[in-house]
């Protein structure tokens, strides 16, 4: 993974000092709260319902063991002993004090981490496939270009006061695990007829109040040109994105309003000028230099399977279940990609305690080349584990209460913090997610139901990506009472689609039953091998809607 040189290191140190000065000025009143807020947001610091919240950047979802230990230490010393992993593969602390944040930034800088641009109207964390560098079928590891984009976008003088936030994601496989079509800019690594690798560039995807799937703007952008192309897109957005209405300020509004052809035309004008200028040309040697940091570890020459692994599968039903849901085939023989579910039933989805983080760091060091990934579905991933080590890894995970065999299954619920934490939320989301987990806790039933992605948000800002849920749930406030709207058929993968709203919301005591009726409808209608998403796409909303509301229908008589 990337290692800071003296320049990167100095940047994050100076950024921490810069923020310390901003805090001093705020305390003295030299900055008003209105002035200070965007500045603290650019260091990931929100004022939430109970306290401040600090969002730490995890660039392209990659962490070292050393970094994980530091995150644990900060959790212990500054944030009540736990942290939360987000749908943008970052990590956030719910309880820091403003007065301590400059110190926290220094501790992060000690391990090559920061909170730069994790919020605010600027380019945010660039995300990628959490299986990058490990999965088969990858054209190449998308993370080197993410690192290059990270540097280009950090402290960008022209684009730090955009109309709104700006999110970029990169995918390098047919399967899109980075939800690129739901980002402001999504990039797909592709090859052209000449066999060159480059990027297909999409613009204008997003969740929130008005969900959109991104438009193809750049059919093929060569690697040497990609920074110039991104700069052109950002410039068009900075100049013409709406600033009169925050609900219409994302680039998705501009792009869809202009239409793909006109938006592309404007981008091409800027792009041509930037190319002529030449300063944003990305030299192939520079790309190679960064790629070297991401070279895969030296994999051993191993047989496809290991006797320790096979024996454990036979002997331990729990381990066997975990291998079915939480493992993904690795490109190297004898290795596996292991997903660590942060959705243990009974715990807040996506949260990890300091002890768990330290335990994970130890596993990383002992079995995982000291590397871990964060997915945008609020789980963690060991990208490279020898199959023969999996039983030992599983045992350690179990001891940490992180052995849930539910990755991608119905209890693997992606959930924004909701009204329990968030000042913007309308309804609580986590208690409902936990009740759903309890309802579907039976592991055999979960595996039998197959892949079902439930995504929940506590408000229209859609931090839980509910528009991209096979079953999406949106918490709303109706006259002071929490209600939950169901959507069906959303997908954040390469078959991106926005979920269809079923109808009026369900009360917090009804929603779990309603979801169960939806699931039972799926079971009754599914064709062999069909996931809930496919069944929905085949039969439509009506059967699900009828089943979900049947109580109400009967009650009306």
């Amino acid at each position: 993974m990337y290692r800071y040189d003296e320049f990167d290191a100095k940047m994050v140190r100076e950024r921490a000092q810069q923020f310390r000065y901003q805090v001093e000025r705020r305390i003295k009143g030299e900055l008003t709260e209105d002035e200070f807020k965007p500045l603290r947001l650019k260091n990931g610091l929100y004022l939430q319902l109970h306290s401040y919240m600090l969002r730490v950047a995890v660039p392209y979802g990659t962490l070292s063991a050393r970094q994980m230990r530091q995150l644990a230490r900060i959790a212990r010393d500054y944030s009540r002993g736990y942290g939360h992993f987000t749908t943008r593969t970052n990590m956030q602390y719910h309880w820091p004090k403003l007065s301590e944040v400059p110190d926290i930034l220094e501790l992060l800088a000690d391990v090559e981490m920061h909170c730069i641009q994790t919020s605010g109207n600027c380019v945010r964390n660039v995300t990628a496939d959490h299986f990058a560098g490990a999965v088969a079928g990858e054209l190449e590891d998308p993370r080197p270009i993410c690192e290059i984009i990270r540097q280009w976008s950090s402290f960008h003088p022209e684009f730090n006061y955009l109309p709104r936030k700006f999110k970029i994601a990169v995918s390098a496989t047919k399967e899109d695990r980075a939800a690129v079509k739901y980002h402001d800019i999504g990039m797909e690594v592709i090859t052209n007829e000449a066999g060159e690798t480059g990027y297909r560039v999409f613009v204008g995807g997003g969740m929130g109040r008005t969900p959109y799937v991104a438009l193809e703007i750049g059919k093929f952008v060569g690697k040497e040109d990609i920074l110039a192309y991104l700069e052109a897109i950002l410039r068009v957005y900075n100049e013409y994105g709406r600033r009169d209405n925050i609900h219409k300020a994302r680039v998705k509004i501009l792009a869809h309003q202009l239409g793909a052809d006109e938006f592309r035309r404007q981008v091409e004008v800027e792009f041509a000028e930037i190319k002529r200028h030449g300063t944003l040309h990305l030299p192939p040697e520079e790309l190679k230099r960064i790629e070297a940091y991401f070279a895969p570890p030296a994999f051993e020459d191993l047989p496809e399977t290991a006797p320790e692994f096979e024996a454990a599968v036979k002997a331990d039903a729990g381990f066997a279940a975990w291998t079915r849901s939480n493992l993904t085939p690795h490109k190297a023989k004898g290795y596996a990609i292991a997903t660590i579910s942060l959705k243990t039933i009974g715990q807040t989805p996506g949260d990890a305690s300091a002890e768990q983080m330290d335990g994970l760091a130890q596993i990383m060091e002992d079995f995982g080349f000291a590397e871990i990934r964060v997915s945008h579905e609020q789980n963690l991933v060991f990208p490279h584990v020898r199959k023969k080590d999996l039983p030992a890894v599983y045992a350690r995970l179990q001891a940490l209460d992180l052995g849930a065999a539910n990755a991608g299954l119905i209890t693997d619920i992606i959930c924004g913090p909701g009204l329990d934490y968030c000042a913007l939320a309308n309804a609580r989301s986590v208690p409902v997610a936990m009740k759903l987990q309890e309802r579907f806790a039976d592991l055999e039933r979960q595996h039998e139901l197959g892949e079902i992605k439930i995504k929940m948000s506590g408000c229209i800002n859609a931090c839980g990506h509910h528009h991209a849920g096979h079953i999406g749930i949106l918490g709303v406030d109706k006259k002071g009472v929490e209600f939950y709207q169901i959507q069906l058929g959303g997908s954040g993968a390469e078959d991106a689609s926005v979920g269809e709203i079923m109808g009026p919301g369900f009360g917090k005591d009804e929603i779990v039953d309603a979801v169960e009726r939806v699931v039972e409808t799926y079971v009754s209608l599914r064709a062999p091998g069909e996931r809930l998403l496919e069944t929905y796409r085949r039969v439509g909303m009506t059967p699900f809607k009828n089943a979900a509301y049947q109580e109400q229908m009967y009650a009306a008589y």
Binding site: D5, E35, P157, E158, E239, E273, L280, E286
Partner: protein
């Protein structure tokens, strides 16, 4: 309002003349874009120093043919969060090779000064109590830059490559 240029307080050579008010006989004038456009010929014929003041939503390319006759352009920040002027300044410097003064006016922050300099601003209308030491401090907060900009500062990539 105090004006900073080249790291020091300087005399402002322009006076803002609101719509409808007559120009003084001599001296530099600052006018809105619409006034410049409607009185352009007489302003230029008078050979007086002129600064055109653009609102945040006014694209400077409308001035491109007149730039040789414009001594300064003031780009307004209605609120510091409105970052369009960063792109307008860049456009003036890079697309149109504008050499005159580009001034930041309105509501912007100390924390934006370094970025403003990078994209081509060279003059800053600041609050009455602004201390000049703050300006040099702002310039020194970040030693390195990652990306190229109008100021042509060497980027980290270039340093790494020994350029």
């Amino acid at each position: 309002m105090p004006l900073i240029k080249n790291g020091a307080f300087v005399e402002d050579r322009f006076v803002f003349i609101p719509e409808g008010q007559a120009f003084p006989d001599e001296g530099g004038v600052m006018v809105t874009l619409s006034r410049f456009q409607s009185e352009r010929d007489s302003i230029i014929a008078h050979h007086r120093p002129v600064c055109v003041r653009l609102a945040a939503n006014e694209n400077p390319d409308v001035l491109k043919d007149d730039l040789p006759n414009i001594d300064a352009i003031a780009l307004e920040f209605p609120i510091f969060r409105d970052g369009r002027a960063f792109s307008w300044a860049r456009m003036l410097r890079e697309r149109f090779a504008y050499q005159g003064e580009i001034r930041a006016v309105g509501h912007f922050l100390y924390d934006q000064l370094a970025f403003l300099m990078r994209v081509g601003f060279d003059a800053f209308e600041v609050r009455q109590d602004f201390r000049i030491a703050e300006f040099s401090r702002a310039m020194a907060e970040m030693t390195y830059v990652y990306q190229p900009s109008v100021d042509r500062r060497k980027t980290v990539m270039q340093i790494r490559r020994g350029e």
